[in-house]
Amino acid sequence: MALDSALLEIGLMFTALAGGGVLSRYLKKSVIPFYILLGITLGPYALGRSSFIYVGETEITSVFLEVGAELGVIFLLFFLGLEFSFEKLLSGKKTILKAGFIDLFNLVIGFAVGFLFFGGLLAAALIGGIVYISSSAIITRSLIDLEWIANDEAESILGILVFEDLFIAIYLALITAFLLEGTGNLSNVVYSIVIAVAFILFLLASVHWGSGFFERILDISSNEMLLIRATGVTILVSGLALSFGVSAAVAAFFIGMAFGDTENSNRLEEILEPIRDLFAAVFFFYIGSQTDPSLLPAVAVLISGATLATGISKLFTGYFGGKIYGLNKRRRIRVGLSLTTRGEFSLVIATIAASATGAMANSTITETIPAFTVGYVLVMSILGTLLMQYSSKIETKI
């Protein structure tokens, strides 16, 4: 056992992440790009090429990072589910649905860009999803920091994000079925999709009819027990899903939804938030550490093209989404500017692509697309927060 060096590496990682946090606060930027950059720098592809110690050098550290990152994904999606409700989606004159459908145009643009560049349908579908989904974490944080949260545009932005959340849960379920399926035979792919859909229907049914059960599990005054019970159920069901070839993240989403309907959901959110933040940080670090910076020049053209095309398309879909909400021109521009920010969920899709084991997995899927996503998210997370910060100047110019 190389426990001593594993602890050193993990300690180095968290200390560096803390330093990244300080820097991000000082520069008034989202912390996510800093976590990713630290992952790249301290991981095997940068620091690892020197003779110095690097994070992931010891076998157990890299296993810890991989599991920790997966837990980060599970908790991120669990929280989406916790805050999601069908009532919110279907209330309010269906504005969310209409604005959400307009937003789907970004998926089409991403698909087109991906197909032009890679020429394959699976790669195109992955790029479509990666550029479609905006970053709930960064956008919500910025809305609060910029004091927009009480404004009318905040409701529209958060509404569109709710639609994206549900869409991405379904998308992940389908894309995982493709990526994990072993043979590449169409009938087998259909079979694994049927399994995924059946598993989701099963989870939805448990959400619907099992509310009494979920209520009872969480009905405990001890915070410690509440934390352990919720964590246990979530990870167990996610693991079960993955063993069936169904996305663990999607299972976590539906478990979150079930817990979200219980009386203890706010308390649960408060207790689990630090756990999510901890493992999400590991996730961002991990995905950075898996990125070989020498792959980035090869995807630089794709990153620039995608930034331009999907930056503009999000501006437009956000603008027209805001129009459906009855916002004035200035606020519509803000909706567009905010939604250009991409982040955690693009990276979730990239990790699933990177871990693809099926017959359709090739180096495009497992290496090039994840490298593209890391570069794209670095650009879009910083660009998005910048656009929001300077929105008043942009609003007056347009």
Binding site: F84, L143, A154, L161, V162
Partner: protein
């Protein structure tokens, strides 16, 4: 006065309170319990943040606004509206009222008026479990729930 409530998914809830004219008070309650209070005097402009406060401080501010520590208006004139046409009203019991010194069961207030006494405030105490043998004393404040009509009847029945 109108209060609009909207969900802010992932953040918490937003309450918009109409003040006079174009003035609106916007209160954002975060899931963490933190409150942010904004003022909006022009719908075209951004809401101006007035202050933010922790859960604990907000509750304190709330009870000060509610009049828990100093209430210049007599309790007779206060009324709180519940859903529909149901109100909560407060009645001061004076010595010369015919209910003073009698038990609830002999007064048959609920049967005759339709309004229900839900609590009695007596000195520093609040009596919450009102039974048939609870005695109404002079100096009590009765907290009564009922429709406008029932409240009117109740007020007459007190004297």
């Amino acid at each position: 006065m109108s209060v609009r409530e909207t969900d802010l998914p992932g953040v918490g809830k937003k309450f918009v309170v109409d003040l006079s004219g174009d003035l609106e008070l916007v209160i954002v309650i975060h899931l963490s319990g933190k409150r942010e209070v904004f003022l909006n005097d022009d719908p075209e402009e951004d809401n101006k943040k007035l202050f933010e406060a922790s859960d604990e401080v907000s509750r304190k501010i709330g009870s000060i606004l509610e009049g828990a520590y100093f209430e210049p208006v007599s309790s007779e004139e206060t009324e709180a509206k519940l859903g529909g046409e149901v109100f909560i009203e407060w009645y001061d019991i004076e010595e010369n009222m015919n209910v003073a010194g009698r038990e609830i069961s002999e007064l048959k207030l609920r049967e005759e008026t339709g309004a229900t006494i839900i609590a009695i405030q007596r000195d520093d105490m609040c009596i919450g479990s009102i039974g048939p043998d609870t005695e109404i004393r002079s100096g009590d404040i009765l907290v009564v729930v009922g429709t406008k009509e029932a409240q009117d009847k109740f007020k007459d029945a007190l004297n």
